[in-house]
């Protein structure tokens, strides 16, 4: 049943104008970057900074927007013999997949044309897309949760944007301030653990390390390289990103099971 809900919400989204706007945005971005600078590796670094901020933002906005706009569809489905969790999971996968496809196609096409397969950075590029996909799935789940808990659209939108702002900007701010304040203490462990609690930071670190430019980060970079560079480190960081998807998704099914429609 979940696949049927997925099919209909996916086809609904694919037909919507916004999916194309998002796809075209990445196409233009990819071509422009590669046109200005044919060095794929440098383009990936520039893209990383955009992808780790933009995919969460778009995921957040689409998540709330789709939830509120598809209330009619949801209500119609709720009266049908379908499990509630299937309805919400199907819609969630519909949004996340359509956004991920826009990302992968939008950046993939220009890179393919500029000779991605002949270059040595193909793994770095895949890492970039993978992080973007993870961030999309994470932030869509978080924002659907916010929408489920807020019947009031304006409030829901407000909280969702605040959530994004927190992870994209405020978290790093607090992080930096605490590093400065507690400068006298050993902060290695704290820094590592704190970066696991923010999916945006985690993705950024993973890409940076993959690009092998951690030397730019100085001592912290060395520390991170020591941790994330190992198999255990990459295992933990991927596991954490996965948890960042699984926990909000299971919360989503719980909230939806308790909600009145």
């Amino acid at each position: 049943m979940i696949s049927k809900v997925l099919k209909y919400s996916f086809s609904d989204l694919i037909r919507s104008r916004w999916s194309y706007v998002y796809l075209v945005f990445y196409l233009v971005l990819g071509f422009t970057l590669l046109f200005l600078n044919t060095n794929l590796s440098k383009a990936i670094i520039t893209l990383m900074n955009i992808v780790v901020i933009l995919t969460p933002l778009i995921g957040t906005i689409f998540g709330v927007m789709y939830y509120y706009n598809s209330r009619e569809f949801t209500e119609l489905l709720l009266a049908q013999p379908i499990k509630r969790s299937s309805i919400f999971l199907g819609q969630y996968l519909g949004i996340s997949l359509s956004l991920t496809i826009s990302l992968v196609a939008g950046l993939g096409i220009p890179f393919l044309i500029y000779g991605l397969f002949q270059s040595s950075v193909i793994l770095d590029f895949i890492m970039l897309l993978l992080s973007g996909a993870f961030l999309t799935f994470i932030f869509v789940a978080l924002s659907v949760n916010i929408a489920l808990l807020n019947t009031n659209k304006i409030k829901g939108f407000g909280y969702a944007i605040l959530m994004w702002l927190f992870f994209a900007v405020i978290y790093d701010g607090i992080f930096l301030i605490s590093l400065v304040l507690f400068d006298d203490y050993p902060l290695d462990q704290f820094t590592l653990v704190a970066s696991l609690f923010n999916p945006i930071d985690l993705s950024r670190i993973m890409i940076l390390l993959k690009l092998d430019i951690s030397a730019l980060l100085g001592y912290t970079g060395a520390l991170f390289q020591k941790f994330f560079g190992t198999y255990l480190g990459s295992f933990i960081s991927f596991g954490t990103l996965l948890l960042w998807v699984i926990i909000p998704v299971s919360l989503m099914t719980r909230f939806s099971n308790k909600k009145d429609f």
């Binding site: 209909y8 037909r15 209330r71 009619e72 009266a79 049908q80 099971n257 308790k258 009145d260 429609f261």
Partner: protein, 232 residues
Amino acid sequence: MVISISNITKKFGNLTVLKGINFDLDRGGIFAVLGPNGSGKTTILKIILGMVIPQSGEVMIDGKVVNKSWGHRKGIGYLPQIARFPDNLTVNELISMIKDIRQMPAEEKVLIEKFGMEPFLNQKLSNLSGGTRQKVNIILTFMFDSPILILDEPTAGLDPLSLVRLKELIQQEKEKGKIILITTHILNLVESLADEIIFLLEGDIYFKGSVQELTKKTGMNDLEHSIARILE
């Protein structure tokens, strides 16, 4: 088919809408759920469907508790109060989508003809008027052969001809032995169709019985005055 509702309580925030409702529907027929605005008519119907989750109590269909399940909806046709559909679909697409989801034999053609919907089949739902949307709503509800029908204000926005057709349709379904739960503000529909009235007042069942019994109880000549009497 037996629907039995026991001890259903529902609060929305501080507002208690249903205070431990009990009733049984143990035979086919048309049951009109009446009551003033905000008395919990829609709420009780949605609880039977599983769209609203009660604080306590049970809904049983044929002896099985269905509160937290979803499979029982296969046997229920539901006509919601407000006909809201995904806007970018056409009528045809919507009908085939619901057929695809339900995977049950459907007889939509007869209904499309009955309500004169042929010219609208390829129109987007967002372009339809309120009454036409309500006809789509009716087609979606009646096209499956469900043993239970839940109709929340089915007459909203219908023209007189469609109203007559709808009455015929409800009557036809009743003759098949179905349980039909209906809420409406059109009392003449209740008088001409309902076998039994369930009257909700202040979160409780104030009265359950036939129209005649209600008029007798209140000492009035007709349903309209009886109800006005109760609400005074």
